[in-house]
Amino acid sequence: MKSKPVILCYSRNDITNFVVLMILGFAIIPFIVPTDYWYTSILIPWLCLSLAAIGQQIVMGYAGQLALGAAGFMAAGAFALFNLELRLPFLPFPVALGIAGLIAAAFGIIFGLPSLRVRGIYLMVATLASQFFIIWMIDKFGWFKNYDTSGIITAQDIVIFNKPFTTPFEMYLVIMVVVTVLTIFAINMTRGRTGRNWMAVRDMDLAAESMGISLLKTKLQAFAISAFFCGVAGALFAFTYLKSMEPVAFDIKLSFRILFMVILGGLGTISGAFIGAAFILLFPVVLNTFGNEFFHGMIDATIISSIELVVFGVLIIVFMIYEPLGMAKLWENLKLRIRSKFSNRFGGEQKA
């Protein structure tokens, strides 16, 4: 085995950072972001996709299983929530969301089974089956879509304790709470025994097995939890961002985008999921504005989207060559550099 991602540990310091971020998210952003545009087109999809990226991160960055079917699990979660709301309307929204996640997790376990026998590209193909199968299943059986023939199914409103959360800001708050809870959950898991088992399996599965780590349990656990995160993310994505239920939105392209978030953000870091999601989401926006600003519509929109593909591809190659740990590591390096500069200047304590 050649070089593999090093564990970037989370110290108490980082948890403090996280708390600061949370205060920023809950107390500061609501006051400085006035327009709905920011909520509906940037913050909401960013948080949803970050959550999905955490799911992908768990199975790929932590457990080292090359899986490519995140969007399938997202679709499973989204349609599970739709049907739960439709058929069991008495369930409170948070409970329904949790159950939707669990249903996605069940799919995760089923499609994680091949990971016990195969790895690498073989596993990638096996997980592609989940992607195609889940979308096909939702498309073919009318029950999942409540026999709606129009093709456009509106998602129900989010109602918690009889209070509807329908404005972009209210939805943002709901997502923020869910993302916060699940992120803390994910961070704790990766720092604890579960996460260490995952990383042992990732770094050398045979060695891990001979040290008494059950591959069966560890791998399936990773797939289940990953699918849970993706399922919840997919449900939120459909209910707050898409606001409609359409299987096409969860096609293989979304799976690839989530894969890129994780690769570019940095494998094996939770913060990488957020950074990667922000980058993948914002980059096309920036490129479009740039293209319009400087060339005043002289460049075709299709050309811009092609250039976007090229840039993503080049970035992936460049990161694989120069910094396989992704943007999260770059950010970490930057912090270290600044910190060491300051500690040198003021003679403060040295931190490694």
């Binding site: 090359l66 091949p114 690498g120 045979l206 993503f312 396989p324």
Partner: protein, 300 residues
């Protein structure tokens, strides 16, 4: 009797469609054999090659001219890939290289679309996608001319490649590199030339596969997704075996059609999309190394 005839027809159509999967899979196998790299960009190469081919034709080049210019272009792509992507990643883990080739795939897709546009092109090879009359007359089977051509072309290509690898100096060098790249380069086999040749060969295969697919479904972005179907083919055939790619392509093609026709209606049809993958999973449980692949032995 007609039912049996219909079954044979389904199987034959499936087998011939399967040769198209084999053609795509062949490109993967070539590169995997030479460098133990799984080239995820092969699907994008198919798209890139055939779109460039059609593009050159539109620029006014004759068929043969466009064909050779495209081959030169694919050689250039291979050269750049070798120098800019694979060499820096020489000692990295397999997964890292795999992800880099995913990136390469996106670069190729983006470049192709930026250069030639996104609209669906028609590719007329002069071979119709309709049944051949004399086969209907003699056996009663409906077999598409295009399918048959694809089968013949695939057979020719495979024969050519096998001969090339077995009887030429280049082929000998390639097999040496595949066996042990370090040892091969230490006895003076030019690694870079071999790689360049392999990538060009993969480019040629991609072009031919793209032309066959393009003639049927139009030259469009969906070709990249079609190429994903080559993945189950590889799993079943094994990554390093050319006969494996062929046999597995035939298996996938035939079983996909048979399943779609006989079992599909019970599920509302459209199972072609995922049936090959599920088939591949069952195959993995039985033979993880594929039909003709080398047994994988891993040690701590």
């Amino acid at each position: 009797m007609t039912e049996i005839l219909f079954f044979i027809e389904v199987v034959v159509a499936g087998l011939l469609a399967g040769t198209m999967y084999s053609l795509v899979a062949l490109g993967f196998v070539l590169i995997y054999k030479a460098s133990a790299t799984f080239n995820f960009a092969q699907g994008a190469m198919v798209f890139f090659a055939v779109l460039s081919f059609v593009g050159f034709m539109e620029l006014g080049l004759p068929f043969i001219g466009a064909f050779f210019v495209t081959i030169l272009l694919m050689g250039l792509v291979g050269f750049c890939t070798e120098r800019l992507v694979l060499e820096p990643l020489l000692n990295e883990s397999e997964d890292t290289v795999l992800m880099a080739t995913i990136g390469l795939g996106f670069v190729l897709e983006g470049l192709a679309q930026a250069a030639w546009g996104v609209e669906v092109r028609r590719l007329d090879l002069g071979i119709g996608d309709f049944p051949i009359q004399w086969i209907i007359d003699s056996t009663g089977l409906f077999i598409s001319a295009l399918d048959l051509t694809a089968g013949v072309v695939a057979a020719g290509l495979i024969l050519g490649l096998s001969l090339l690898f077995r009887y030429t100096k280049m082929g000998l060098g390639l097999r040496a590199v595949a066996d042990d790249a370090g040892a091969a380069s230490s006895i003076g086999i030019p690694l870079n030339n071999i790689m360049l040749m392999v990538w060009t060969a993969a480019g040629v295969v991609a072009l031919v596969a793209g032309m066959m697919w393009g003639a049927r479904a139009g030259v469009q972005f969906a070709l990249v997704d079609l190429a994903l179907k080559a993945l189950p083919v590889l799993i079943i055939g094994g990554f390093s075996s050319i006969p494996g790619a062929i046999v597995a392509g035939l298996i996938i093609g035939a079983s996909e059609k048979v399943l779609e026709v006989y079992i599909g209606p019970y599920f509302g049809g459209g199972i072609e999309g995922w049936a090959p993958y599920v088939l591949a999973i069952f195959f993995l449980l039985w033979r993880p190394e594929g039909l003709f692949g080398e047994k994988i032995i891993r040690r701590v």
